[in-house]
């Protein structure tokens, strides 16, 4: 009985957070003299107005699910892998590099796509291992290490786009020369969505769910995340497992980056990670690190991402308004969790 009551209270506070976030955004809209109802209607239409928009939501959903899956592994071990953005970028760079190597060869394109995806995963894992090494052997907080490496990854990416891999003729912010269609994952006819991305995202969800719920590895990572000293004292090689969690997260991030290349953009672009790493961090915090909630919350965030596109056209508002909504949602829900703990703690 007590447990049911607790859960009910929990949901009440979550919903409270949602309402506060909406009120906050409404307040901003009122201040800038825009009708909030118009905005919310447009957001809804922007997300569900057409089949193209709905499929576009899933184009965003797949990478969000993938990065969040990876982040749950590091979060479980008590690590803040803020370097996830750089890991996505490196995944994209590795994937692009591999496709470029095979462009003028007779190797079947399907095979090239496969190894470019695997290469992207390796790239992400290498970039994730770096903050891992800095953390476990150098004592550098993974947040600082990751942040630094994000900047390096961005610089590397831009450097390649404008330098070694620049378009023949003129280098451009629009990215490298697009690959021939044969080197892209097939999409639904007349839409941007590739089934392969969706399938990989679903497989990842299943893997992560079982990894965290039912394996020795998942439980050991959880023990490390809850109390590292005790975990070590109970005989868990904490450094090894922390490194492992970084590498697993990097594999997912690299996969995300590779898919951005082979399934979405078909080339390397400057903002190839699209901020999905940071969004994934927000989703992971919002769902309180429970794998079961990744799919619905990522869908909600993806819908918000897509729906913002209508705003500038109709209301002359910047599309980043939906980003404000996403951010305030996380803040208010976390705030309500704090409030809940205070209320319960006082009893």
């Amino acid at each position: 009985m007590e447990k049911v009551k607790q859960q009910g209270l929990s949901i009440l506070f979550q919903v409270g957070g949602l309402i506060l976030a909406l009120l906050f955004v409404t307040l901003i809209l009122v201040v800038i003299d825009t009708n909030p109802l118009d905005v919310f209607r447009l957001i809804w239409e922007g997300a569900t107005g057409s089949m193209t928009r709905i499929t576009n939501i899933f184009v965003v959903w797949a990478p969000l699910v993938l990065v969040t899956c990876g982040l749950l592994v590091t979060f479980t071990a008590g690590l803040w892998n803020i370097g996830i953005e750089g890991q996505i970028t490196l995944g994209a760079i590795f994937a692009t590099g591999i496709i470029r190597m095979f462009l003028d060869t007779s190797v079947p394109p399907a095979f090239v796509i496969l190894i470019s995806i695997m290469g992207g995963m390796v790239g992400g894992a290498i970039w994730a291992a770096l903050p891992g090494i800095l953390k476990t052997y150098g004592g550098v907080n993974e947040i600082f290490g990751g942040l630094g490496l994000n900047f390096i990854a961005t610089a590397l990416n831009i450097g390649l786009i404008f330098g070694a891999w620049s378009r023949p003729g003129v280098a451009s912010m629009s990215g490298t020369e697009p690959f021939p269609p044969a080197y892209a994952l097939p999409t639904l006819p007349s839409y941007n969505l590739s089934w392969y991305s969706i399938i990989l995202a679903v497989i990842s969800l299943v893997i992560i769910f079982f990894l965290l719920q039912g394996t020795h590895l998942g439980l050991r990572l959880k023990a490390i995340g809850k109390r590292m000293k005790s975990a070590y004292r109970l005989g868990i090689p904490t450094r090894k497992y922390m490194m492992l969690s970084f590498i697993i997260c990097g594999l997912f991030a690299g996969l995300t980056g590779a898919l951005q290349v082979v399934a979405v953009y078909h080339r390397l672009i400057p903002s190839i990670s699209s901020g999905y790493g940071y969004l994934g961090l927000m989703i992971a915090m919002l769902i309180n690190y429970q794998a079961i909630w990744i799919a619905p919350i990522a869908l909600f965030f993806a819908a918000l991402n897509i729906s913002g596109i209508q705003l500038p056209i109709v209301l002359k508002l910047d599309s980043s308004l939906t980003g404000v909504l996403q951010g305030s949602l996380v803040l208010f829900i976390l705030l309500m969790q704090g409030v809940k703990q205070r209320v319960l703690g006082k009893k």
Binding site: G214, H216, L217, K226, S230, R233, L234
Partner: protein, 501 residues
């Protein structure tokens, strides 16, 4: 200023840290508070200095009841506390640190303060460089700084919590003369210590606490034996230690030197025989915890070797020690021993030997946990998170997690915070392990426990280690004096070839 404690009570969970303490301390006096660890000294002082609030009872300053809500309040009333670990801000200069507590004013009157600082420290014969950085000071110098700061803030009562730990003899002399000078000026000094010698040298009067109770007050001059008896109580023997075959050597340390600022211990030579229980006695922070940690790879020794079953494991990691059959149960159960947030079943799963399986065989571990819960009489279910177990049950759980075949078990305060029944149960289980061939090295602040369960005893005092004492030939008084730093002539062991076969 006169201070009165009137029926002060304070509970921490099940522990009655202060039970109806009533004391009155006159101004101009150096007043000692003596007691072993956990006697309630620090609790009482924290209540006086506003860090914690009593559950009931009253503090009176010059016969007026006051309520001291926080440390800032305390300093307003003129009460300043010098903590065991000086609470300063190391990356700052001495003078900046000094100015920090200053009241009011947006701008700092740097020049005036500097002059006041110099005048003040001249009175005491301190010679601190105001421009030096605090992290370059020794513990003794930091203390001097803190005393000056508190006086400058207007303290009329100074509380010193174990101030002589980690400072040199010279600094101690300086400190004592400063304290005597302050008392002559009419300030009240409260001196909290477990060191008999210091208390005897310095204090006009001393109150002895034991297990939260006020045992009594004694005026100078003191009878050491009487003080020891008041501190530790009368000795009660519970059975006689069993003797198990103890020829084979399980564990050996050779010329081991361990260091952690400000303590340095060793070189220590010692051999632990199969089935033997050795108690490490001494006040907390005398170095026994460092030695224990060095014996299990959690602290890297400066010199010397650690040998387990004839294999040299010096500088190996804790995990390697574990593989060779050495296990360690720390005192802070939820900090280092168990993982809060994980259930009992999850603990048994994490510590399993089946390392290379991918999936968890949940029914297997559920069954195993049930068996262990029954065997160790843990009050809890397999799905109970460890943090919601009581202290005694947490300790049982920690014990039940130890592997079956161990050659050395190291324990820190194995029965601290446990009730009588749990404590006796713990030791029965440990003695069973000894019969199976394990040796035990344990730290305890409870002298009865040390005397009752050990075969031999090592005493620690400020980093010094005694030669091994046969527990059956050692009296409580003798042990109490050694712990308090008395009777060490000829006791210090650097190289004791004891029981070498």
């Amino acid at each position: 200023m006169n201070i009165g404690f009137d029926q002060i009570n304070k509970h921490f969970g099940d522990v009655h840290a202060n039970a109806d303490i009533t004391l009155s301390i006159r101004g101009g006096m150096i007043y000692g508070i003596l007691g072993e660890n956990g006697a309630g000294k620090s609790t009482l002082m924290k209540i006086l200095s506003g860090f914690i609030q009593p559950d009931s009872g009253e503090i009176q300053l010059d016969d007026n009841p006051v309520s001291i809500a926080n440390p800032a309040d305390a300093i307003k009333f003129g009460i300043g506390m010098l903590h065991q670990d000086p609470l300063d801000f190391p990356p700052m200069q001495v003078i900046e640190n000094f100015i920090l507590g200053q009241e009011g004013g947006l701008t700092l009157s740097y020049k005036d303060t500097l002059k006041e600082f110099e005048d003040l420290q001249k009175q005491f014969g301190f010679s601190l460089d105001p421009k030096a950085y605090v992290d370059s000071l020794t513990v003794g110098e930091r203390q001097q700084l803190e005393i000056l700061r508190l006086l400058w803030l207007g303290a009329r009562v100074l509380i010193l919590d174990e101030p002589t730990t980690g400072i040199s003899a010279q600094q101690k002399a300086k400190l004592f003369s400063a304290l005597k000078f302050l008392a002559e000026q009419g300030k009240t000094i409260i001196f909290v210590s477990h060191k008999l010698e210091d208390v005897e040298d310095l204090c006009h009067k001393v109150a002895i606490l034991r297990k939260g109770q006020l045992v009594g007050e004694v005026e100078s001059p003191y009878d050491t034996d009487h003080l020891v008896e008041m501190m530790f109580g009368k000795q009660i023997k519970v059975g006689t230690p069993e003797t198990v075959a103890k020829e084979q050597i399980n564990f050996e340390i050779m010329d081991l030197v361990v260091e952690k600022y400000p303590l340095r211990i060793g070189p220590v030579d010692f051999q632990l025989r199969k089935g033997e229980v050795v108690g490490l006695a001494g006040m907390e922070g005398s170095g026994q915890d460092l030695l224990l940690r060095a014996c299990v790879g959690l602290l890297r020794p400066v010199a010397g070797c650690v040998i387990v079953n004839r294999e040299d494991l010096t500088n190996k990691t804790y995990l390697e020690f574990m593989e060779k059959g050495v296990s360690y149960l720390p005192a802070s159960r939820l900090e280092e021993g168990l993982v809060p947030g994980l259930t009992l079943t999850e603990h048994f799963t994490v510590t399993t030997d089946r390392k290379n399986k991918l999936f968890i065989d949940k029914p297997h571990f559920h069954k195993k946990t049930k068996e262990k819960i029954e065997e160790y009489r843990i009050i809890g279910r397999p799905s109970t998170p460890v943090e919601s177990l009581s202290g005694g049950n947490q300790q049982r759980a920690a014990l039940s997690l130890l592997k079956d075949s161990l050659s050395v078990i190291l324990l820190e305060h194995p029965t601290r915070g446990l009730d009588m029944e749990s404590a006796i149960y713990m030791w029965n289980k440990l003695k069973e392990r000894c019969k199976q061939g394990a040796s035990i090295f344990f730290i305890s602040a409870d002298l009865d426990e040390i005397l009752n369960y050990s075969d031999r005893i090592l005493v620690f005092f400020s980093g010094k280690v005694s030669s091994p004492l046969e527990a059956s030939k050692t009296s409580l008084e003798q042990l109490g004096q050694l712990i308090g730093g008395k009777g060490w002539d000829g006791m210090e062991s650097t190289k004791v070839a004891y029981g070498k076969s």
